[in-house]
């Protein structure tokens, strides 16, 4: 059932100059937008919502995305009227906000084994950018501004590469060894006095723990580089290992991955960054600390701060939800979340027919679709009422099906997921290419979308 665009329901052109308080030359002429009643809008968006697969609709095993259930109560606390404050308020008048931020900084520091945390980055990629900028500032501070290379494993998230480039670095790509981990010899070859940092995630994108992490850290530190931890896979390790203890100097946390804040169809997220003590002076400004005067908490600028990466203090409402999740679970709950996440991944892998070439994996595994096209496999899984895994990445596994069920799925649901995998595995290419058949929209023409982009209803009106 097609839901018309708002513009197909109504378009009303309003003449702006009528009864305008401004002279004509300071105003636009008119504005043409849909003029609809609340009941019509309620139906429109209710209908749109029915055409979306969400975590409350079914399992969402997107590898490296950690799509876990978003506890409803966290919405309630973020919606408290007392959370609605302006960012330019005096520090004295927002002690509650500062306290929550302070406590969250503290929680995240403990969880990651980091000495100082900034909450400003509004997403994981922004967190990476802070990490890279902090590294730059650190090296410059030490008179080492010649360091212009960032080393990144081939199988890393695309954001790592893009962030390093945005930070002005040349990217040195690092191949995996036969077992799917960092190749130490290749690393040795890549490292030099030009190395600003090595960006790593652990467990890596194959779900494998980088067993040589201590040695890797030593190697990077020996050449004067910094070790960056991409927090995307932290859900595997809660309470069992901490990036700080592994020798990482800087890391970001993905709160929608690890701490169950909702992904909102793309965002907002938050990408707090934790650092070892030596990097604290370079963190973005301002941070929160306990105060000595009348107020309990205050803002301050770190000594050699890189400045800001967001106009204010990041995605506050998201940070509240992350804080609430951590405060709810505590040590025990967080550790259990990782345990169940790893159990679920291992159980699901054991129940499907597709080959899983690399192990022992933790919270996610990468299966291979073999002779099938992984993207087609994903489309066909939609027909079985489940969301497919991430596909075709990392490339080290042919036709990769990167699967992360998270801790929130029950055995029953995992069995249903496994049944969907296995059903699709038996199907022929013709069926896969025709998929999906049971979804709101059938397979969408991507080529045409990119060749002749229709990016607003304005061109649709002209073009159709």
């Amino acid at each position: 059932q097609y839901e018309p665009l708002l513009s197909e329901k109504d378009l009303t052109r309003v003449d702006v100059d009528d009864d305008s308080p401004l002279p004509d030359d300071l105003t636009r002429d008119s504005l043409e937008l849909p003029e609809l009643s609340e009941p019509e809008l309620a139906r429109h968006y209710t209908r749109l919502s029915q055409m979306i697969y969400g975590i409350d609709t079914g399992p969402y095993p997107l590898g490296s995305c950690t799509m876990k259930y978003n506890p409803k109560f966290t919405e309630d606390v973020a919606a408290l009227p007392s959370a609605g404050v302006h960012p330019d308020r005096s520090e004295e008048s927002v002690q509650g906000t500062l306290e929550l931020l302070y406590r969250l900084q503290d929680y995240l520091g403990r969880i990651g084994g980091m000495d100082a945390v900034t909450l400003q980055p509004p997403a994981g990629a922004a967190g990476e950018f802070v990490g890279i900028r902090v590294a730059t500032a650190y090296h410059e501070h030490n008179g080492e501004d010649h360091r212009d290379e960032v080393i990144i494993p081939e199988s890393a998230h695309g954001t790592n590469f893009a962030t390093a480039a945005l930070g002005g670095y040349d990217v040195v790509s690092l191949p995996s060894d036969d077992e799917g981990r960092v190749d130490l010899e290749a690393l040795e070859a890549a490292l030099s006095e030009d190395t600003a940092a090595l960006m790593l995630t652990n467990p890596n994108t194959l779900g494998l723990f980088e067993r040589d992490i201590t040695e890797i850290a030593e190697m990077v530190h020996d050449v004067g580089g910094l070790l960056y931890y991409d927090g995307a896979n932290l859900n595997a390790l809660l309470g069992r290992a901490r990036p700080g203890d592994m020798g990482f100097d800087v890391m970001h946390y993905n709160v929608h991955k690890t701490f169950a804040t909702p992904h909102g169809g793309g965002g907002p997220g938050a990408g707090p960054v934790g650092v070892a003590e030596k990097l604290e002076p370079f963190l973005p400004a301002p941070r929160v600390r306990e105060a000595e005067g009348d107020a309990d908490y205050e803002l301050f600028d770190p000594e050699h701060t890189i400045g800001k990466v967001h106009g204010y203090q990041g995605n506050w409402l998201v940070l509240i939800k992350a804080f609430a999740y951590i405060a709810r679970l505590g040590d025990e709950g967080l550790a259990d979340a990782s345990a169940k996440a790893v159990l679920n991944a291992n159980y699901l892998a054991s129940q499907i027919g597709y080959d899983v070439p690399y192990e022992p994996f933790h919270h996610e595994f990468v299966a291979s679709a073999g002779d099938q096209d992984a993207a087609d496999v994903a489309k066909r899984m939609l027909d079985y009422g489940v969301h497919p895994p991430t596909t075709k990445w990392p490339e080290i596994v042919p036709e990769a099906l990167m699967t992360e069920p998270t801790e929130v799925e029950s055995k029953d649901t995992l069995d249903r997921l496994a049944a969907a995998f296995d059903a699709v595995a038996e199907e022929d290419d013709e069926t896969l290419e025709a998929a999906p058949e049971r979804t709101t929209a059938r397979r969408i023409d991507q080529t045409n979308a990119a060749r002749d982009p229709q990016l607003s209803w304005h061109t649709l009106e002209d073009g159709e």
Binding site: L22, Y45, N70, V94, G158, A162
Partner: protein, 445 residues
Amino acid sequence: MTESQTTGSPYAPHTDDEQAAMLEAVGADTVEELFDIPDAVEFDGEFGIDTRTERETRELVRSILDRNDDLTELLGRGHYGYYVPSVVDHLADRSEFLTSYTQYQPEVSQGFLQALFEYQSLLVELTGLEIANCSMYDAATALGEAATLAERVRSTSGTRVLVPDLLRDGRRSTLENYVAGTDLVVEEYPTEDGGVDFGALEETVDEDVVMVYAENPTVRGTIEERLAEIGDLTEESDALFVLGSDPVALSLLQRPADVGADVVVGDASVLGLPTSYGMGLGLFACREDYLRQVPGRLVGASDDATDRRAYTLTLQTREQHIRRERATSNICTNQAWVALRTAMHAASLGPNGMVDLAKRGVRRAEELADRLDELEGVTAPVHDRRHFREFVATVDEPAATVAADLEDRGFAVHVVDDHEIQICTAGASDEEIDEFAETFSEVVR
């Protein structure tokens, strides 16, 4: 704990029996066996974070946030407290919207994609530019992205990025970070009486300038009067004209396309979000020429296998997950759900409501300024310009003293200089404005 005890994650559904069956299936005796972590880096400490019931956690957060004072905020300067209709909360909170991932499987994401397409269309209408992406983080980061875009698309090389001397710190500093990895250098150009000093700008623009940034309204609430001239100037010098604004202002003020703007940035969440300690929604719109260089996600309309209209993320080869270090930006997670809220709020207002809201932005600011101007020792507005939503006033007493007195009486305003305070009318009710004017007159008496 007063409600039911929690053991482990309250959101992991495993019963003991199920866990045992699963362990058996994977051939392990315990879950610990599944972890492949060298002893050297195993963590055997504790975080020291208590486990709480849901009720206790809610109580904890409430008790913390209750420490925020309950003030009437007349702050503005980019972050406003417009009333968000209840229907926006109720619809945006539907879990299909809230809990879905980026629309990498468009066949089961049509509803969100259509909503984002409608959001893009809203911005296209407001700006008059052909392309709007479906969100950056906020105004500051959108400005940063605009600068890197300018570097990429300008036909000749150049290094100078010109911004007004009044540019607020957060935007300036964020911009500096975004261009730190490039050859670009951020320079200030002067303002005059709260607006662009066009003569000075004209003076400084040369072929090394890649981008000129201006805002309308400005950070001081003044309405910029010489935008078209800036547009001509930048066109002549082959620099990008980047204009900062927001959806409410754009409903009334000159349409960016009409003054030659190449890119529009700003905070779109002035519609859709209540004051959220600076959480925003980066508006990013630009001319069609930059299609392949735009940062961020774009939703396009296409067809499905049955030739029915369908929406999808498109031109993804610009993005980091495909193009990696050659991507147009490193952005991945964005502010999609806020964009949804903004689209809902705008739809709820409709064009009449949006234009009305903007017109009230002019009237209320000017009315309050006039009212305060009558007080002895007060000049409002300080700039001889038309104003939108907010204005700067001078006071005889130290501004900090005035602001502190006001805060004691329940009102928050900005101190912008020794004897200057800035006052914003957006979001406050008529009654609150009245009370403020009353209180203000007592404070400066």
